[in-house]
Amino acid sequence: MSLLEARRLKKSYGSHVAVSDVSFSLLAGEVLGLLGPNGAGKSTTMMMLAGLLAPDAGEVILGGLPFDGRNRDGRRRLGVVPQDFAIYPDLNAIENLQFFGRLYGLHGRELTARCDEVLERIGLVESAKRASGGYSGGMKRRLNFGVALMHRPSVLILDEPTVGVDPQSRSHLLDCVRDQARNGVGVIYASHYMEEVQSICQRVAIVDHGRVLACDSISNLLKGLAADLILYVDDVERAAAAVAGLARVGTGSDGLPALILTSGDSSNSDAANERTDIGERLRTILDRIHATGAKVLRVETQQTNLERLFLDLTGNRLRD
């Protein structure tokens, strides 16, 4: 059974539709990446999941029961790490952790023990008695994260928890997230850092224009991603005219014009046939370029990764 489920969530602000149809589920011990360009509807989705915003339609199922934010038992199961720091800068780490721990029902020795445990985990033991306003960005991020761990939530919702931190703090935070997942906590992890998502998430949901464009394991998503062959030619225009329909003119990794041959351009859906198909197309292309007298300077393959998948699905258009 899934820990958390978004079922056909919809939310509009006036005439602007922020989320039009978002559905996914989160299993125990799973880290689900939530990716989307700015304004895609990620934050609205996360606010609905956390119970801070009521959806116009659809529902959130938490622990098998509908959750609308008014349910205090449901709120106890959730740990939310907002993108902006949500700590009291005039209080030290212990005061911050204990205050939020108390709000979730921790008291006495249990509170003290849990506070010590979290401080240890987020690496703030030595700075625990300093006002958190004087912390570095990385320390604040770790404390921001630690506050959400205090009450041992079964679901963690993390909104870009590593923005603006140094590699050490980032690595520490990612380890913390992995730890939580190992302990059976389900994690929703929103980020713009693709390499982070690729390294810690088992599944990824890519959201744009308020819809889930893809939601699957990373390996499955990348499997379907078209691989590109990039051919650098000394006379691109002449070569392009000769290979029209087989390759397109594009830009190579070094910014120079090149011919791009995409495996996904093939009409073959079968993987073996596609490989044969691209091989034949490459041979034909090379023959035709040779016939024009142009010279192939270099051939590159473009690596398939999450970022490419993300751009393929959401496009290159600026959103801000």
Binding site: A50, G51, L52, R72, D73, R75, R76, L78, V80, P82, D84, F85, A86, I87, Y88, P89, D90, L91, E95, F99, F100, R102, L103, Y104, G105, V147
Partner: protein
């Protein structure tokens, strides 16, 4: 219980916020001290600071004119400076060292001698109809103190009449006989004197100015707290911690109570501090029944903190707190009489002042501090009105907070 955790956290933040401590505790004391200094009553019980200062020039220099000056000097509310000439008298008046100049002209004795007892009884007609000038007594006051000058002139003219009345009475056989009988009675210690002695200043009145300064500033600063409170909500929002509070398994009511209680406690502490300092530093009276101050302080603080709650849910930025909050505080304080004694308000302003919680708070403090007997029901009515204001503000604030969150 969760409300108390929030309250405790906010108290801790308040203690750590030096600006708030200065604004809520140090500034009111500083203001009261400054006003005390300007009225000459800070750390001093000098009665002269409270008396009206007048200068007097005696150009008649007879026993009667000297008797008049002596009588004025014995008046408890007056401090008389005898001046050798009119020019010097005018000079001290011009410098603002006195509020009024009394000039006893050379014909004072002569005109007093011409008076008959019927002229005094019927003073609106006859020789005295022209007022002090008919006895060759004249007054000059500073243009800025016209109202006060006229008031003083009236008081002084009555003293002149009291001095010349026995002179006129001696000419009438009936009053002369009556005066002789009174003289015989002088041996009787219970007999009342023919001319009562002028009133003298009581020891208690040395702190009279503080009876409106301290409540006025207490009420104003109690409501000054609304801007600190609104800032606390804004910083909660800006820090992102309000979101965390709303995510926690606690109700909206707990958040609002937890955010309000520390400021209520601070307000009560602030009021108590001001009254204790008023007593210790300025010798201010707490009235005949000081226990009544407790409900008044509690209700005033309740109204102030609930208004703070409402403001906190209306404003969005620090700049809005500065503009809306400060305007609200100053306008309400001005309308209600925090800066100026309410007794001197015209009737319309008195009625308008009761549309503010400040007005009811000041009325309640006035009922407790300045009356010889505390009218319990009247004070409790004021408290009930303050609680009514508090309920209204809390309801609106709660509704705003829910719709915002």
């Amino acid at each position: 219980m969760t409300a108390w955790y929030i309250a405790r956290k906010d108290l801790l933040l308040l203690v750590k916020d030096k600006r708030a401590v200065v604004l809520l505790l140090v500034l009111p004391l500083l203001f009261i001290s400054i006003v005390g200094m300007t009225t000459g009553q800070f750390l001093t019980r000098d009665e002269n600071n409270q008396r009206f200062k007048i200068a007097a020039v005696d150009r008649c220099e007879t026993d009667l004119s000297r008797a008049l000056l002596t009588r004025l000097e014995q008046h408890g509310e007056l401090l008389v400076a005898r001046m050798p000439s009119v020019e010097e008298g005018r000079a001290v008046l011009k410098r603002g060292e006195v509020s009024l100049l009394v000039m006893i002209g050379p014909e004072f004795q002569e005109r007093a001698d011409e008076l008959r007892i019927s002229d005094i009884v019927n003073s609106d007609h006859g020789p005295l109809a022209a007022g002090p000038a008919s006895l060759d007594v004249s007054f000059e006051s500073r243009p800025a103190a016209l109202g006060l000058g006229r008031l003083l002139e009236g008081v002084l003219f009555s003293q002149v009449i009291k001095v010349v009345a026995p002179v006129a009475a001696r000419k009438n056989p009936v009053t002369r006989a009556w005066m002789r009988d009174r003289s015989n009675d002088e041996a009787d210690p219970d007999a009342k004197p023919l001319i009562p002695s002028p009133p003298t200043t009581s020891a208690k009145s040395s702190s009279a100015a503080y009876l409106w300064i301290v409540p006025g500033f207490t009420v104003m600063f109690a409501f000054f707290l609304i801007s600190v409170m609104a800032r606390s909500f804004i910083s909660e929002r800006d820090n992102g911690t309000l979101k965390r509070l709303l995510l926690a398994p606690i109700g909206t009511g707990s958040v609002l109570i937890g955010k309000t209680v520390p400021f209520f406690l601070t307000s009560v502490a602030q009021c108590l501090l001001l009254f204790v300092c008023g007593r210790l530093l300025f010798g201010m009276s707490w009235g005949p029944e000081p226990l009544y101050l407790i409900p008044v302080i509690i209700c005033t603080s309740l109204a102030a903190t609930s208004l703070g709650l409402l403001l906190a849910t209306v404003v969005q930025t620090d700049q809005q707190v500065s503009s809306y909050g400060t305007t609200l505080i100053l306008v309400m304080s001005g309308l209600s009489g925090c800066f100026f004694p309410r007794e001197m308000f015209p009737p319309l302003m008195k009625r308008i002042s009761l549309f503010t919680p400040h007005g009811w708070a000041l009325r309640a403090f006035d009922g407790v501090l300045t009356q010889s007997h505390v009218e319990g029901p009247q004070v409790l009515t004021c408290c009930a009105m303050l609680v009514g204001f508090a309920m209204l503000f809390i309801t609106l604030g709660w509704w705003r907070f829910r719709s915002l969150s």
